[in-house]
Symmetry: C2
Subunit: 322 residues, 2 copies
């Protein structure tokens, strides 16, 4: 493998000239530039990132961390991030929770986008600084170098539940996501607020704390079935759990939506295929915006507010009129 030295030698110039060519500096003769460039090609030369990063302290790599391999809509987010990162001629590296801290701290990237809730706020706060900004999705951290891109969960959830009330539903159950996550908190709050406004009673028995996985939705429904307390409608904090719940219901002889109605959140592919009423989150756009924010911060536009993204109710056949 050839290095800058080989290129310099073969071109008959010094390594600094090669470096200047590679970095688009203007202090290089046109002919020299061309020769060097062609020699680079010929030798298949690629700059060693280690040397470059070590000296310059700069990097063109954006990190994206995600962790839940069950949630397939993450692919759309990645696509949005990827497109934006490419637009700005940065490089994207997607990493898992396990190596996240190491990658963030080892000076090989310019900033991170964090989606995985398992990465603690404290870690992010200790890593972020003016030279290393971070964008977090679906949570808020009060730090000048950490920006949030969040979904407005409250408004569409409120609309959806009010819609259910208007359709005549009276007995609700709520299958929740992880209780510390911002989006679950908002979704649940909207749900409760609507019931309260409409004077509908809701007890803790009608609440199940899941974890956004299909299995926990399955389990939740099973428990309602066993305790002989199946509601008119399951409001689920995401689609995966709604799907799990439907499986449990159908396995136990309940028809959806004839016997029990159900709603999800996210509008994943399967929710469409299974005709589940849900809330559509613009996934691609979410990724794109997060990346855009991060890169613009890196480039010096540090004074931006958190961003909130709109989501919309999608009515489907899982919630007929009562």
């Amino acid at each position: 493998m050839s290095g800058i030295k080989d290129v310099a030698e073969k071109s008959g110039v010094s390594i600094s000239t090669v470096s200047n060519v590679l970095n688009g500096k203007k202090n290089v003769g046109e002919r020299t530039r061309e020769r060097v460039l062609s020699i680079c090609q010929e030798l298949n030369y690629y700059p060693n990132s280690a040397g470059r990063a070590l000296k310059s302290g700069k990097s063109n790599v954006i990190l994206f961390n995600f962790g839940d391999f069950d949630r397939s809509f993450y692919l759309k987010i990645i696509q949005g991030i990827s497109d934006c990162v490419n637009d700005y001629e940065y490089d994207l590296a997607i990493i898992t929770e396990k190596s996240c801290e190491k990658f963030m701290r080892n000076n090989m990237s310019a900033g991170s986008i964090i989606l995985d809730e398992k990465i603690p706020d404290t870690l992010l706060e200790s890593v972020a600084n003016i030279k290393y900004p971070i964008v977090v999705m679906d949570r808020k951290i009060d730090n000048p170098h950490i920006k949030s891109v969040i979904i407005d969960n409250y408004t569409p959830m409120k609309k959806m539940v009010q819609g259910l009330v208007d359709k005549g539903y009276k007995k609700f159950a709520f299958i929740a996501g992880p209780e510390h996550t911002l989006d679950n908190i908002e979704r649940y709050k909207a749900f409760k607020d609507v019931l309260e406004i409409n004077n509908i009673v809701f007890s803790q028995n009608d609440y199940y704390a899941g974890n956004y996985r299909e299995k926990s939705g399955y389990l939740a429904a099973k428990i309602f079935i066993i305790s002989q307390d199946v509601p008119e409608v399951f409001v689920c904090a995401n689609d995966n759990m709604a799907i799990g719940a439907i499986k449990a219901l159908e396995e136990n002889g309940y028809r959806v939506p004839e016997d029990v109605a159900i709603t999800g959140f996210d509008n994943i592919q399967l929710a469409e295929a299974m005709d589940i009423t849900t809330v559509d989150i613009p996934k691609y756009e979410r990724g794109f915006i997060a990346a855009k924010y991060l890169i613009e911060y890196i480039k010096g536009k540090t004074n931006v507010d958190d961003i909130s993204i709109e989501a919309k109710v999608v009515w489907r056949n899982s919630t007929p009129n009562k």
Copy 2:
């Protein structure tokens, strides 16, 4: 941010001693080691990968390249890779086609797993060497430093199509994937071989060259519908296209499977939900094995053969008896 120098200073030892501690060398006193380690913690010290990579030329990073954000089963592959990489205490970075060459060449990783068909063989051959092995999925490259992990597509496809013949199907259509991909070639060959064995005629009109995306399956079916030449069964080279085809059929008043039968390949989540007969590929295992092969090569076990993974037919309701 603190470096090795800060740690050395605060511990009252030289930087070489700190380095020795960090790299688990034996030539360090027990008390020194403990003190250094605790100071590292205290200062929140993380080695600078650039410096380390530059000097040692080594890296613990495994690259995984994938590109098709439409195919959600990739998440399972990633999960398999991730688990294996973590088992061996390596780090995983997932990258896109766009930056793939740069990352492979910039000396910041120990090897790559390549899934994206858009990365050309020639590039891989020019990058791979004894110090930088590559594992490719779903294709074969004749190079001592590139190993293949492929699915045996032929056997299960043959079994599935023969099963359709046995069920009484006589008029087939084939919706193919990208024609240069190994898996599509094998799937199509198995299909044709079975028809030939059973003396069933198959003309080029019954063949549509798609690209594994849902849209191309949709388009394919639409074309068959328009040309008034809808077969008894669509054999699709993957599930996504089968799903697209089903949508086109249902939109045009054809019932699946009553009017038209259909099969897919991959066994993605949606195929299960939509009750499509397909071939199940062990996705997680595929990723895990690919990573295992790569890391063992990196560690010196260079003499291994290509690996072929078994896949199994899953009969569902989309293919009733004729």
